[in-house]
């Protein structure tokens, strides 16, 4: 079905109350923002970008550790390109990003695939290489495959992998806690206190992990969920599903991307993840610890956290926090839109990013800015 037909179907649904639909994927947000989808939906439907950017929530102390490894140990740090410009909290005179460390002569190597990391270790067999890997399940599964195939002696991993669903569980838990949850500054209906009324679940995470992970939103919180693909049509189909579920007063977990997403996901990928990594409580930058939301390497022999001094725990000001004045944490938690940050588009732009959400291609601030949203 084409976009126009989905819109017609959505408009034909009875709209009796405002509805906030959250997405938790930078890819979804990109389609929605660049496709101008917000402007064509009926009034009362609010589309909220949530925790959909692994680079944005990568612990500040892990980035600090990667910088220190690059500067103080005789290693090459390989990392996804997005990580290079993410700023840590440090004085103006000090090195504040991997990019700045590289400018100071440290060996920092941007990569776009674990395969490039393996190639790098083979080109430089005498060189110790640390792969600083942040990402959600879609990136952790390839990393697990790399580990399962066996990695070269000179490679170790600084892992900052995260799971998507525990962040949504955390959001829903916070909802009942007024201290943790100050009111959103801008909402369709301010008396309406839910963070979201319906969830669009990330299609490629579900491709790997299966759809069942999202069942808790339906079972425990009685909210509609639809797994969505990445086209405008795919997302409108998911919106139609959750809005219709609401209109009919029932909720279930719908798979609106069955072309690619199998209910059980990719079992080989899940097996590789289980064999190579543990699921542990983990820090999210500016947000804090989320139970069972992080990956940890099973094999300490390849874990850079055990191979090198523990730089993450070095005491520093604003350690673990977002940069001063940056509201990324609020953006990630779906409490404010990017444009509600005072620095958005003024002090903070992709050219001069203040916070990680303006650095990463999956950061809501970056996406909104590239879509011209003001």
């Amino acid at each position: 079905m084409i976009a126009q037909e989905w819109l017609t179907k959505i408009r034909a649904l009875p709209q009796n109350s405002p509805c906030k639909i959250m997405n938790v994927c930078g890819g979804h947000e990109r389609t929605l923002s660049l496709g101008g989808v917000r402007t064509v939906l009926p009034a009362g439907i609010e589309l909220i970008p949530g925790p959909g950017c692994p680079v944005c929530v990568c612990p500040e102390e892990d980035i600090y550790a990667a910088i220190q490894l690059a500067l103080r140990e005789k290693v090459v740090v390989a990392t996804f390109g997005d990580m290079l410009r993410v700023p840590i909290n440090a004085g103006k005179q000090t090195v504040r990003s991997l990019e700045q460390a590289r400018a100071k002569g440290a060996k920092v190597h941007p990569i776009s695939s674990p395969l490039e990391v393996v190639a790098l270790t083979q080109q430089q067999p005498q060189q110790k290489i640390v792969f600083f890997a942040a990402g959600f399940e879609t990136t952790m599964a390839p990393l697990a495959a790399m580990l399962a195939q066996g990695i070269p002696q000179n490679l170790s991993i600084l892992l900052s992998g995260r799971l998507t669903w525990p962040a949504v569980a955390k959001l829903l838990a916070m909802e009942n806690d007024p201290v943790l949850l100050p009111a959103r500054k801008e909402t369709v209906n301010p008396s309406h206190s839910r963070i979201f009324d319906a969830l669009v679940a990330p299609g490629h995470v579900a491709t790997v992990m299966g759809t069942g992970e999202w069942e808790f939103v339906v079972k425990q919180h009685h909210l509609p969920v639809a797994v969505a693909g990445f086209t405008v049509e795919g997302l409108l189909a998911a919106f139609y599903s959750v809005l219709r579920q609401r209109a009919e007063g029932r909720c279930f977990l719908d798979n609106c991307y069955p072309q690619v997403v199998k209910p059980a996901g990719n079992l080989t990928a899940q097996k590789c993840l289980k064999e190579t990594m543990n699921v542990v409580d983990a820090q999210w930058r500016g947000i804090g610890c989320i139970p069972r939301s992080g990956f940890e390497l099973k094999d300490r022999q390849i874990d850079a956290r055990y191979q090198f001094p523990d730089y993450t725990s070095e005491g520093r000001e604003r350690r673990g926090e977002m940069p001063a004045g940056c509201e990324c944490a609020q953006v990630i938690l779906g409490r404010i839109y990017p444009k509600e940050c005072r620095l958005y588009g003024t002090a903070c732009t992709p050219r001069h990013p203040i916070g990680p959400c303006m650095v990463s291609d999956e950061g809501a601030c970056r996406i909104w800015w590239s879509a011209g949203l003001k």
Partner: protein, 74 residues
């Protein structure tokens, strides 16, 4: 980072495949699809160099169109 790209398999050697998308060739790892029957000509969803899932040529086409629209330099 979580957006996979459809690619078509050109040749396969063990877990390594040469894949192509819109004239661009890349090495793709098939380890995560080891339990599936994969043959030359198949379309796969590739993320950070690893194939995550088989897909139909029609789905591949739809996704390429989306990427064309979205990945225009911003």
């Amino acid at each position: 980072m979580c957006l996979g790209i459809p690619m078509q398999i050109i040749n396969i050697q063990g877990y390594n495949a040469q894949c192509e998308a819109k004239g661009i060739r890349r090495e793709v790892n098939l380890f995560l699809l080891q339990d599936e029957a994969i043959i030359v000509g198949d379309f796969v969803l590739v993320h950070v160099g690893y194939a995550l899932q088989k897909m139909t040529s029609q789905e591949a086409q739809t996704t390429w169109e989306l990427l064309d629209q979205l990945m225009a330099p911003t």
